[in-house]
């Protein structure tokens, strides 16, 4: 990753890595542990315009379906197609190969106020 990238974390257990106005979004290691083995990931259509808080992706474990939300306004640029045949990538590599989608941000300042890694880790540790 280049030096200009920055990673944010949300209370909903998503991570957002931003480089040059494009955000890559996934769920955290903690979230994948809580969900257990994923069996299906429903991904959005590239090109779709989304608003902050929209449910964009559904991750399904053996037992439950959970929504993943857009952390900011923008346009979906690409989705992680590898997940259609191998949803378990989210379990084995939640914060890297198991990324969910990328989006062009309309207003990067919407991410201000999100947590950095250590702040997020503190909330997780406190349960």
């Amino acid at each position: 990753m280049s030096a200009v990238s920055k990673t944010y974390y949300t209370e909903d257990h998503e991570w957002i890595r931003v480089e040059n106005g494009v955000a890559t979004v996934g769920i955290t290691e903690y979230a994948q542990e809580q969900l257990g083995d994923l069996v299906f990931v429903e991904l959005p259509e590239p090109g779709a315009t989304v608003s902050k808080g929209d449910a964009i992706v559904v991750v399904e474990s053996v037992k439950v379906a959970s929504d993943v939300y857009a952390p900011a306004d923008g346009d979906i640029k690409s989705v992680n197609d590898a997940l259609s045949s191998e949803p378990g990538l989210v379990n084995s590599s939640a914060e890297k190969d198991g990324w969910l989608w990328t989006m062009a941000l309309s207003d990067e300042s919407q991410l201000e106020g999100l947590m950095d890694k250590s702040a997020y880790q503190t909330t997780v540790d406190q349960g």
């Binding site: 257990g36 069996v39 299906f40 429903e42 399904e60 474990s61 053996v62 037992k63 949803p87």
Partner: protein, 366 residues
Amino acid sequence: MSDTGPLRELPLRHMHEEAGARFAPFAGWSMPVSYSLGVMKEHLHTREQAGLFDISHMRLIRISGPDAATLVARASPLEAESQAIGASKYTFLLNEDAGIIDDLIVTRLAADRFMVVANASRAAIDEAQLRCLASGLNVQIEPLDRVFLALQGPQAAEVMKDSGIETHGLTFMHGLETGDGWFLTRSGYTGEDGFEIALPASDAETLAGKLLADERVEWIGLAARDSLRLEAGLCLYGNDLDEQTDPASAGLVWAIPKPLRGGGGYAGAEKLAEIISAGPRKKRVGLQPEGRQPVRDGATLTDPNGKAIGRVTSGGFGPSVGHPVAMGYVPPDLAEPGTAVQADVRGKPVAMKIVKLPFITKRSKG
């Protein structure tokens, strides 16, 4: 069942915690949902070796006294008077409309004694129904406080033997009282061979420790219990069965002795005979999504033209079959295996077909 009161804790909670359990509320209890293995491996482990389940939320109710068989015959469509001592039967409590109040396993312990295993969420209602039907009879109805463990899987019988736990030659769907407060049956809810053991909390840790010392045994949580029973085509009360559903619709007439299908002395007999004779208006079926996407309970089923025809009552992923699995109810003319239907999942249609149940080849015989 209360969703608001304090949750009841399992007597063996500390053992579950040591095994890395995640807990969630279920029917008023804080129950282990999965352990460090994870649902998928827990499920597969049970089908390959042996899984140990803490099912102490299930309620044991002992019926004893000179009129015990009379009460069972009033409560359930069973030939209780002639039920062999040691035989376990899958049965129901029915309301006057033949709706299922609960599904049960009833074991005859002695001429004058039966054991009922009831669902946690329905136990209080079951007990009230039994007490109501017991009016004028000489019987005692005792809910028992027990730890209840299930050992399930193809290695279960070998594990019991190697752990030195006497199984008294029990065959599937048989049970007995084996000692001071112990109740052992060969039965289960996974489609596998196995045992269910109820015993006083003071004996439970030793027994669980003995079983877990065998490397073929792992703790298995409620999540895998659900996927195991769904693959085996077994009903979950509250999902696949409720008071608006009768045994004929649920495809459970096999559990009713032939002479009692046309009526009898049990609650709901008259209405059930009518339904069996006229044919049910809906039928429980197996459902398989065409793709990889699970279709879960509550999803509306439609015909290929989008007309609503029924509902999915249980659904998820089947780790042993490697694809999503579901059950639901459709009109009888659409219940034929191979029939194409659709489920509405978050506003999008998912193609499914009706399939035969169970999804796996059951190894439990009974």
